[in-house]
């Protein structure tokens, strides 16, 4: 009587197991990547007569901006160009891994946001396509990639996230220099990420080596180690912990500090007077991405460095500093020109990363100390 149940059941099983075969046809694959990207790489003037690739209105973006921020920027781009841009949100490190895994057939054409060191690593792996956006010469040269693989879109300086309630309770002023952090009143109240696990924290290490010289810098970190409450794993965690009162002072990038402050956490932001390092946020064209999107992707990069695009850092309340000198600096953020930033050498920092991190692990705090 109920024999049909078993038949239907087994049929269902068979179809689901056979799902593989069918579903590969459902998405329009983009296999002509090789041929068209060559055509596209002829010097790109704004409107070439006849586009060689079947142009579409699509654009797929991997972005490391938080969701609510990405929505603001990408919606504005859609309005400005009519291109149907869609995004997937991943952290910068995850984007890098995903690009590595997808290398044979990338699923997106733009990587938008995230620190330049991840972009440098991606370029080294051959995952990015060179592209020089229109009006790139407007952007200060020291932020640019000399090889032309990525373009800068924002700058974030390192600063101190200080819990205001803690300051009030313990009656001490906010730290104003790297040396302040060594004072006894900060004992057990300074939190930074471990340079072996976080790009932010490696920037701290490389900055201080560049300011003080290697020996003095390591002496500094050995002393600072006495005051450290926690070495966190992620670079934005120190700011969050300071916000929650889990620590007194956290060292993070300014936009990672201002975001929780803007949410209402009791934070004071200060910058070290000896000078500070910074990260450059970037945008890049992904190599061999969907062929029909290449032109749109280039338009996106052109747009991303404009004043209009970078004015949005204020609307999105992200407090990133625009690299386009014409763009408005968000209220509450310190202008780059008012800030004492060092001439941070990202290339040197990248080349010495392994050696400096190893030295940090052996002389200051090993990975077993990572919190």
């Amino acid at each position: 009587m109920k024999k049909w149940v078993s038949t239907v059941g087994s049929l269902m099983m068979a179809t689901t197991l056979g799902l593989v075969g069918c579903s590969s046809g459902t998405q329009a694959p983009k296999q002509e990547a090789g041929g068209t990207s060559q055509v596209a790489s002829t010097p790109a003037s704004a409107a070439p007569a006849a586009p060689a690739a079947p142009a579409s209105k699509n654009l797929t973006i991997y972005t490391a901006y938080p969701e609510q921020e990405a929505v603001v920027y990408i919606d504005e781009f859609k309005k400005a160009t009519g291109i149907e841009a869609k995004f997937v949100r991943l952290s910068a490190g995850e984007t890098l891994v995903r690009l590595q895994a997808e290398k044979g057939n990338p699923q997106a054409s733009i990587w938008y946001g995230g620190p330049s060191d991840t972009f440098i690593a991606a370029a080294k792996e051959g995952l990015l396509e060179k592209y020089k956006p229109q009006n790139a010469d407007k952007i200060p040269e020291n932020f640019q990639d000399k090889d032309g693989y990525w373009s800068p879109v924002y700058v974030g300086a390192l600063g101190f996230a200080v819990n205001s309630d803690w300051l009030k309770k313990s009656g001490i002023p906010a730290p104003e220099s790297w040396d302040d952090l060594l004072k006894p009143e900060y004992k057990g109240n300074v939190t930074m990420a471990h340079p072996g696990s976080s790009g932010t924290s490696y920037t701290v290490l490389a900055t201080l080596v560049q300011i003080m010289g290697e020996d003095k810098a390591f002496n500094y970190f050995k002393k600072l180690n006495e005051n450290i409450r926690q070495y966190t794993k992620s670079g934005s965690a120190p700011a969050k912990q300071a916000g929650l009162g889990e620590t007194g002072v956290g060292i993070s990038f300014a936009h990672d500090i201002l975001a929780p402050k803007n949410e209402g956490y009791p934070l004071t932001l200060s910058f070290p007077k000896e000078g500070t390092g910074y990260e450059v946020g970037a945008v890049a064209l992904i190599k061999n991405g969907p062929a029909d999107e290449v032109e749109n992707a280039k338009k996106f990069i052109d747009w991303a460095i404009t004043k209009e695009a970078q004015d949005l850092y204020e609307t999105s309340k992200s407090f990133r500093l625009p690299v386009n000198p014409d763009a408005t600096v968000p209220e509450g953020a310190t202008k780059l020109t008012d800030l004492k930033v060092i001439n941070y050498d990202a290339v040197w920092a990248g080349e010495n990363r392994d050696a400096l991190v190893k030295k940090f692990e052996s002389q200051v705090r090993g990975k077993e100390g990572v919190k």
């Binding site: 109920k2 149940v5 078993s6 059941g9 087994s10 269902m12 099983m13 068979a14 689901t16 197991l17 799902l19 593989v20 579903s23 590969s24 459902t26 998405q27 694959p29 938080p66 969701e67 609510q68 869609k86 997937v88 949100r89 991943l90 952290s91 910068a92 490190g93 995850e94 890098l96 891994v97 995903r98 590595q100 895994a101 997808e102 044979g104 057939n105 699923q107 072996g196 696990s197 790009g199 926690q230 794993k233 700011a239 969050k240 916000g243 929650l244 009162g245 889990e246 620590t247 975001a259 929780p260 949410e263 209402g264 956490y265 009791p266 991190v357 090993g366 077993e368 990572v370 919190k371």
Partner: protein, 566 residues
């Protein structure tokens, strides 16, 4: 002489293999399904992990083991040991609590059983990072309990203890779901018999109930152990000085940009897990646990003795209190302006989700709904084949089902992208890749629960069905499946919940058209918008509770309509 012996043994083996094949060829449907299962298990469980392994030891120039050698230093073994310690502690506590809950709910006349049943399932709904965050808000330096209630000035909660507490709370439901079915189906008449023979309650428990539940206890230990060492979200937030392998692997990949080293560390987690798995299987193969024989039996009324029921009730209430405390914190966080700082009530977080985030909620729901029935049915089917049928490569099948369950999600995610990103196996960007990943990653709990149930059932019940002319599949559908009702329920619930809440595998598989809720939650946590994250979690819990209720209804009907038809 020696050679002759082995020759004969070999021939004998060949012969049994041949008879097995012959038996299978009588049931082409069964044979077809087994072959299909093998193909899909290879494709979706083994192949992606092989791809990740290949990544770490193989490049254009051939095999390269220098990365492996670089990773295998003293630091590696230290964190491996950390992971093992954590896994063992969480497994023991989680299983113990799961057992007490399951015992109280199934074998006593305790009050509020329905309620406790619900509470025991709540913690598997632990969205990424949120439980650990509410631990910080409750017991951290500014914690509501530590500093607010108890006035502790400088509480430091980061470390192994917090991690074990959170994992135990989060994983005991897995043990509960696994044990409930088995404890429920232990024939009450057995216990009554030994009682009437003069044994005390304790002796009955020690000599009858407990030994019969042993296989399920061991498989619960195994499941919790595997999930504990594979866990990434909790240790990431709360582990403090205590580095674990899953977290270290992730940081190696995303912080140091060393995909090879990280991938190797992540795959290395498989070894302790598989070792534990094999020990368990070896031990199980030595014993019989049949109690359901098809002969008439009476349902026992359950223990009513106050001296037993009250302590159990107190224990369950205490645990329920802690579970509710954690979830209450999350619920409250969803309705206040700034979680931890500003407790003005607001609906802003929900507004954000209903204007911007509804798509990802809908997607998650679709994916989970699609994968859940497939996962649970496949789980039951594989359990049935493994326990009841003999075929070549059965051990291999069993073994491959555990692979994607035991590796950290990161490995599954990366492996799936490596394996299915190019023609002819182009799946990236589709919904199918998510559904398949969920199915093969979440199947194990159903298989374990199903096997445990079937082990208790005398095979003669099914044999009766086949000798009356039904084929194996009909027997599976009409006889075995209803007997595995409770296991089926566990498989369904676990699969649905995990599909809704998984993050580390999913992050590599979501695409512009198929973005999921957990990815949004993660993004909110990362940008300190804990209120929105909490609101997402509340919606998640709400959806899951409705679905669990619905599943319970369906599964119960599955049994009763069968009975009614006879």
């Amino acid at each position: 002489m020696q050679r002759g012996n082995t020759g004969i043994a070999f021939q004998h083996q060949l012969k049994t293999q041949r008879t097995r094949l012959k038996m299978l060829s009588k049931e082409p449907w069964l044979l077809g399904i087994i072959i299909l299962l093998f193909i899909s298990l290879f494709l979706f469980s083994v192949y992606p992990i092989l791809q990740v392994l290949k990544l770490t030891v193989y490049d254009e120039t051939g095999f390269q083991f220098d990365k492996v050698a670089e990773v295998l230093n003293a630091h590696f073994f230290q964190i491996l040991w950390n992971s093992l310690q954590l896994g063992i502690l969480s497994a023991v506590f989680g299983t113990a609590i799961g057992f007490v809950f399951a015992f109280a709910v199934t074998r006593t006349q305790m009050r509020g059983k329905k309620f406790f049943h619900l509470i025991a399932m709540l913690p598997i709904i632990s969205p990424p990072f949120v439980m650990a965050l509410s631990m910080i808000l409750l017991f951290g330096r500014n914690g509501m309990i530590s500093s607010g209630l108890l006035g502790i000035e400088d509480s430091d909660i980061y470390g192994l203890t917090s991690l074990v507490v959170i994992q135990t709370l989060g994983f005991f439901p897995m043990a509960y779901l696994n044990l409930r079915g088995v404890l429920e189906s232990i024939d009450g008449a057995l216990e009554d018999a030994s009682l009437s023979l003069g044994a005390s309650r304790w002796e009955v428990f020690r000599t009858v109930t407990f030994p019969l539940a042993l296989p399920a206890i061991f498989s619960s230990l195994l499941l919790v152990f595997i999930k504990s060492i594979e866990d990434f979200g909790n240790p990431m937030v709360i582990a403090g000085d205590y580095s674990t392998l899953a977290v270290q692997a992730y940081l190696e990949i995303t912080g140091m940009y060393d995909l090879k080293a990280g991938a190797f560390m992540a795959v290395a987690i498989l070894f302790p897990s598989l070792l534990a798995y094999m020990i368990q299987k070896y031990w199980l193969s030595k014993k019989s646990f049949v109690t359901v024989t098809g002969k008439p039996s009476q349902a026992s009324k359950g223990i009513g003795d106050k001296r037993i029921v009250w302590p159990l009730f107190a224990f369950c209430s205490l645990l329920t209190g802690s579970v509710l405390l954690f979830y209450g914190t999350v619920a409250w966080g969803a309705f206040v302006k700034v979680w931890g700082v500003n407790y003005t009530l607001t609906l802003d977080h929900f507004k954000y989700i209903f204007t911007l985030g509804l798509d990802s909620v809908k997607n998650s729901l679709i994916m989970a709904t699609a994968s859940t029935p497939i996962t649970a049915l496949l789980g039951m089917l594989i359990a049935y084949l493994i326990i009841r049928k003999n075929f070549v490569g059965k051990k291999l099948m069993e073994f491959s089902t555990i692979l994607t369950f035991a590796v950290p999600g990161t490995v599954v995610g990366i492996g799936y992208v490596l394996a299915f990103n190019e023609k002819p196996l182009l799946l990236t960007g589709t919904a199918a890749i998510l559904i398949i990943a969920f199915t093969f990653r979440n199947m194990t709990v159903g298989i374990e629960a199903g096997s445990n149930s079937l082990r208790q059932v005398d095979a003669s019940i099914e044999e009766a069905s086949t000798s009356l002319g039904a084929n194996s599949l009909t027997t599976f559908w009409r006889v075995s499946l209803p007997l595995m009702k409770s296991a089926m329920f566990s498989g369904l619930v676990y699969s649905f919940v995990r599909s809704m809440t998984s993050i580390s595998a999913v992050i590599f598989l979501v695409s512009v058209n198929w973005n999921l809720m957990t990815v949004s939650i993660l993004s909110q946590v990362e940008s300190s918008r804990l209120g929105v994250a909490a609101a997402y979690c509340l919606i998640l819990i709400f959806i899951i509770l409705i679905v669990i209720g619905f599943l319970e209804l369906i599964v119960n009907r599955l049994g009763s309509s069968k009975r009614g038809a006879h």
